[in-house]
Amino acid sequence: MMIKILLFANLAQQAETERVSIEVKSPLSVEEVRNMLQNQIGKLSGIENALVAVNEEYVDLTDQVNDGDTVAFIPPVSGG
């Protein structure tokens, strides 16, 4: 199954991309996605302070991610 990952701001800058796809065998937690992402593209400094959204809604680190979901890592926001 395929999970789409979105990165923003300083995370996108470090990763040199805003979109990453990862291939997994079974549903996994948000935290596991975060680990797999960094295994694949390298350590992203500050990602542990990022909020996480699945399909545009904030989630907990322990929530499950399923096939086709979009996981967004959201560094501390600074709009306004």
């Binding site: 923003f8 809604e57 904030y58 907990d60 560094p75 709009g79 306004g80």
Partner: protein, 153 residues
């Protein structure tokens, strides 16, 4: 025009205000965030905003719902601009109408504080001597649960 809007175009305040005018509103509080040149000794040359657009619009909409729950009869409209902004450009325009003025002030202030907490928008300052993503990028504030406080999942 959408009541909760992320745009790359320059913001027309009156268009935002027009969306909250109501025959039983006696007060409209508008908050406009503009690009400031000096922050302490630092001089901003220009700013760049980026957003996770569809989610940001959803979060703005949620702020509107929160406001309606806290201040019944309040009507909210918010437009936030993204892209490159020059000094004095409008970054965000928030309008809240209510029957009485006390509520309008409180709700409009609530809206800007919530934007700074839950809406996925990021600002990069381009200073005379470098650039920097603004916000708490250094991790002095952490979200062990993965989401900010008070966010309804």
């Amino acid at each position: 025009m959408k009541r909760f809007n992320i745009t790359e175009k320059s913001i027309n305040n009156q268009e935002v205000i027009d969306q909250v005018v109501h025959h039983n509103a006696g007060a409209i509080s508008v908050f406009i965030g503009t690009v400031r040149e000096m922050t302490g000794e630092k001089q901003t040359k220009f700013l760049h905003y980026e957003a996770y657009v569809p989610m940001a619009e959803k979060q703005l909409e949620k702020i509107g719902i929160e406001i309606q729950e806290k201040w019944p009869n309040a009507i909210t409209a918010i437009t936030h601009r993204i892209g490159t902004l020059q000094i004095s450009d409008i970054a965000v325009s928030i309008a809240v109408s209510t029957p009485h003025r006390q509520d309008a002030f409180e709700a409009s202030r609530y809206a800007i504080e919530r934007i700074k907490e839950i809406v996925p928008i990021w600002k990069k300052e381009h200073y005379a001597d470098g650039e920097e993503w603004v916000g708490n990028q250094k991790g002095t504030k952490t979200y062990p649960a993965g989401h900010p406080e008070g966010v309804k999942k």
